[in-house]
Amino acid sequence: MKKRFIFSKKLKTISFVLMLIGLITGILAYSADTHRFWTNILFNNYMFMLLGLGAAFWMALQYIAEAGWSAAFKRIPESISCYLGPAFIFMLALVFIGLKYVYPWAAPEKHIEDFAKYPEFQKLLDIKAPYLNSNFFIIRTFVFFIVWLLTIGLLRKFSKKEDAEKANALKWFEKSRFYSKVYIFAFSLTFIFAGFDYLMSLEPFWYSTLFSIKELISGFFHASALIIIMVYYLYKKGYFTFMNSSHWHDFSKYLFMGSILFAYAWYFQYMLIWYGNIPEEAEHYFLRRFHFSESLFVLNVVINFFVPFIILLPNKLAKNPKVLLAMSITILIGFGLDVYMSVFPPLVHTFAGMGEHIHPVFGLYEVGILLGFIGLFMFLAFRSLAKRKHVIPINHPYIEESLLHHNAH
């Protein structure tokens, strides 16, 4: 069994090439269409930030449930959540420079035509101004990221201490358990507002109290898909030689459960707004479904719910690593689509042009910048994995149980 993860030169080159592609397309996009550039930054940064937070949530869940089987895979969510540092930097850039390009409430002067046509919009913005103003927005960004980085950083610190001190391993484990509770509490509380800020305020006249819950569930669900992809990669490279069908089955349970939870969250928001039938609320879905793209709107639920639900239902398929890998990739594409459907429609639509049909924007800029972020994410995750002395934690109290894990079915 290999002990330390080796960040191979090939992998490094791939991630650097991807980052270079992202940088070049980013510069091109910035000079051609600043508005679209910042939209892409928000789209990609939000996506990977949510994956990092979701992965940390996954890890915290293993701690507080005292799950034995997952002890050997602890490094993977830890390395995924490493993206949060750069996410802070990108978010700060967005907040300080790009705010006016992305959020309509931050640049009322750009929407003078709209306000002339619909004067009540200005009134609504004035009412929301005590919460939605750029100064408070900046303060909130700092608060969110400081809370997340602090709690996740503590969990990582304890994990490192646990590796270093064999005699005190149990003490650090207990501390990790306690701070997992702190993280889950702090994360749920702050993320509700983060979801309202970063995505919901793209449409400042629309609000739904269920919105952030759906995003939180989506983060947890899609992060478990990303964890499976990374576990599969390390398994193929020969780091996890102990893995058997029970481990894969337990991973697939997360995908299966997550898909149901996601569909539930998607449906409760949609159904309630449809049933309430209040024009201010229905506008959100009306824009996406009838003016943007009905096929993409339906595809979102199909990819994120029906496909994983039906394919992971038979016991044999749920234990097959290749099926799980294919499902995880499909689900991550579904995640991209879900965030895309949140971010892009309000940005290509103007208030004055309400009721007009708009076309989905997806071109070279989007692909290039996405590849760049994937490269950056790969580099950070694998570098953090390579920094640790052991891919499999050595002093974790449940490590034996994880290595010998076996389910009867």
Binding site: Y267, Y270, M271, W274, Y275, N277, L313, N315, N407, A408, H409
Partner: protein, 167 residues
């Protein structure tokens, strides 16, 4: 009919005994435990068709609930509720609740039929402690030769049975 009864209170010891009994090809009649021990099912190669049946009950349930809703809301009595279309998004909620109800009732009924039990049935086998925390292994004595019986008693003793009894 007399039975050889071995009483355990630790599931790991029970599993150890099960391994040795299988190796000795003992005619084990029944194992009664206070909770499900899945390893035991695997060791004795007991496979249940209930999960598959439950899936089909689910398919049947979801289609029948949908058909019932469609008949009542769309065909028979299309009522205008708040301007909503009669064939509407509220269906999934009722379909979900209906499918859970039908699947659970049908699965429990299937289990009762397969295990040949029904409410109010007299117990087939009684022994102090089996409704509590004791686990017992039952072996049919009429199928045992004297040498085999001695061997089984040895196995029970070696694996730490609390008590070896005859009923």
């Amino acid at each position: 009919m007399s039975k050889l009864v071995a009483v355990y209170s630790d599931d790991s010891k029970l599993l150890e005994a099960a391994d040795q009994l299988i190796a000795a090809k003992a005619p084990v009649e029944e194992v009664i435990t206070p909770f499900v021990i899945e390893e035991l099912l695997e060791k004795f190669h007991i496979k249940s068709n209930i999960p598959l049946l439950a899936f089909f009950y689910g398919v049947f349930g979801i289609t029948s609930v949908f058909a019932a809703l469609y008949y009542t809301f769309v065909i028979d009595y299309p009522l205008n509720i708040g301007g909503k279309a009669p064939f509407s998004l509220t269906f999934p909620v009722l379909m979900f609740i209906g499918v859970v109800l039908i699947t659970v009732l049908a699965t429990v009924t299937t289990f009762f039929i397969q295990a040949k039990v029904y409410p109010g049935k007299n117990p087939e086998f009684e022994y102090p402690g089996i409704n509590d925390d004791k686990m017992v292994i039952l072996v049919d004595k009429s199928k045992l030769t004297p040498e085999m019986e001695a061997k089984l008693r040895e196995i029970f003793d070696a694996t730490g049975a609390e008590k070896i009894d005859e009923v």
